[in-house]
Assembly symmetry: C2
């Protein structure tokens, strides 16, 4: 079993850019035993102690260092080079989901060879990807895609929670990872934002075809948002490639503007629901089955009010699956699976 | 000056998959002096003679062989290897816009070194691309993007025609290439379908920022279609990255379904106009200024009727800029540039 040192320098207190650390601590198969972030040493993240350096981390006996941040552009700040070299020098394998691959870095890979450790790049796409072929319409599984009002609002978390609840009910459910953190959690998948654009839908298709071999009900991790100025292309390519039967819209309560993008408001949720539904391909119409509301920034009472208000505004079943449990959303999904899809 | 041998084996009679050959013959700066397609030797393409082999082509004194087909997935059928080796052996430089790069092929690159010829891969993305930054909203140029109802309906051609007409009127207009054929025509650009998906909008942004250094009015070549099951991600990423002020919708008269995609009808054009306009980012609203109707498959009378019917159905200025000249569409674009953008 791996024991992770999550490298979160500068971001261990930030569930946006540090979301890989948070995701693997919460949902990963292998435990995160220690987190590195020099400014927050002595504190904890999700119950895991934070230390200042790789040297300090070794007391927790990690086997593997994990790049636990997701910075825009997927390239690390220069300060990270020293941390990675320290980890390799200490004999740890290193795993990352960046656009710049660890194994392609001459200095890192030379030291890794010398120390006999592995560098694993989870964002490296399969070499044989191509355009989609229509297989996404031919497998036998039911496909549910989480879609968002912005990046980093909880699309992966909602897919993971719904999958877990479905398996607890005895369904042959599968979480389908489409980004680096999801891949680290589940141990398979494709980081669709790292593939050649022409092959985006091809990557989405391959993931659901693979998922359909693993189970009957697929919860596909969505990416970005259709209204996101930087990542909308990934959102739409994955949507059309995954060809879902149902969507679950994920929104953070209170958010009104795309983060970091002044002048780009998030449309009212009923409009966003309509836009996502209109963009479904005629060959595979998709409806929004429910709204997953991320109320993590609200107090309990305000969270309940926000859930009720969102349900009223959208006319859709709404809940926060992390705070209040995923059962209500899962019920909504299962009830709305189009006829003709087996409910196994 | 280069003299091109266009390699179009199997596709010289096909303006879809052979569209690179057609585009460079029609609009390229350097002349295509001969076309290779063994099944059609003795015929002509756009006035250019077709021959059966590289050996036969040499009589026309080409300097450079051009891969003149655009096959889905960007990978060539095996029969092409012999043709490419023949061209290199004959001392010709070779240019291509495939996803598989000529220069990365050990056999081709070894022979190219031996023969002292160059291999140029126009689809290779810049190494330093990243996510978009907002610069697409800050330059001073007016941006017009062609968008389509399908692939291979004429988005590049319409952008080239409008740009040429604008320059003839003395405007500082620029054609902004976003695909391999456009790059071969104009000598610069980025094949946005070959970039890492996360950087799609970043590539669109870089192209308009670069275009704004070259002129005041940019006609950006669109890609794919928002309703295309394989390439919609590229379409939307380019759209949001280029951040156009106006759109020109390109449609082939009579088309009712996405080519090669049974069950995916093209929406009625007024719906498609609405969908493209709704997908504009709030920070840069975009309206469809006109419809460019590709009537290439119709007789003259039917073409005029189709133009009139489309204008009536959409309420938008409509014309076939190739058949009837680009002036009417250019007028529509110039009239509809939002106030605040200088009409230079």
């Amino acid at each position: 079993m791996k024991r992770y040192l999550a490298l979160a320098e500068g971001y261990s207190g930030d569930d946006h850019y540090g979301k890989t650390t948070y995701g693997v601590i919460r949902y990963g198969t292998d435990p995160v035993v220690v987190v590195l972030d020099s400014a927050r040493a002595g504190q904890t993240v999700g119950g895991v102690p934070v230390v200042a350096s790789v040297a300090d981390a070794l007391a927790y006996e990690p086997t593997t260092a994990l790049v636990g941040v997701a910075v825009a552009g997927g390239r690390l700040p220069p300060v990270w080079r020293g941390i990675l070299l320290d980890a390799i020098e200490a004999g740890l394998d290193v795993e990352a989901g960046m656009h710049e691959f660890l194994a392609d870095d001459p200095e890192l890979s030379a030291l890794a060879r010398e120390r006999g450790v592995e560098l694993r790049d989870y964002r490296r796409p399969p070499a044989d990807l191509s355009v989609s072929t229509g297989e996404n319409l031919q497998h036998g599984a039911a496909v549910v895609l989480t879609v968002g009002s912005d990046c980093a609002v909880g699309k992966k978390t909602v897919a993971v929670e719904l999958d877990r609840a479905a398996r607890e009910r005895g369904l042959r459910s599968v979480f389908v990872p489409t980004g680096q953190t999801g891949i680290m959690i589940a141990g398979w998948g494709i980081a669709v934002d790292a593939v050649v654009s022409d092959f985006l839908a091809g990557a989405g298709e391959r993931l659901v075809v693979e998922g359909a071999k693993r189970g009957d009900l697929l919860f596909v991790e969505g990416q970005g948002a259709i209204v996101h100025p930087q990542f909308s292309g990934v959102t739409l390519g994955l949507y059309h490639g995954a060809a879902p039967h149902l969507l679950v819209l994920v929104h953070r309560a209170g958010d009104t503007e795309i983060e970091g993008s002044p002048g780009n408001p998030i449309p009212p949720l009923p409009e966003l629901v309509d836009l996502y539904e209109r963009l479904a391909l005629p060959a595979r119409p998709a409806r929004v089955a429910a709204v997953a509301l991320n109320t993590g920034r609200l107090e309990e009472d305000a969270a309940r009010e926000a859930v009720a208000a969102t349900a009223l505004a959208t006319g859709l079943p709404t809940d926060d699956p992390v705070r209040f449990g995923p059962d209500r959303l899962l019920d909504a999904v299962l009830e709305r699976l189009p006829s003709g899809i087996t409910r196994r």
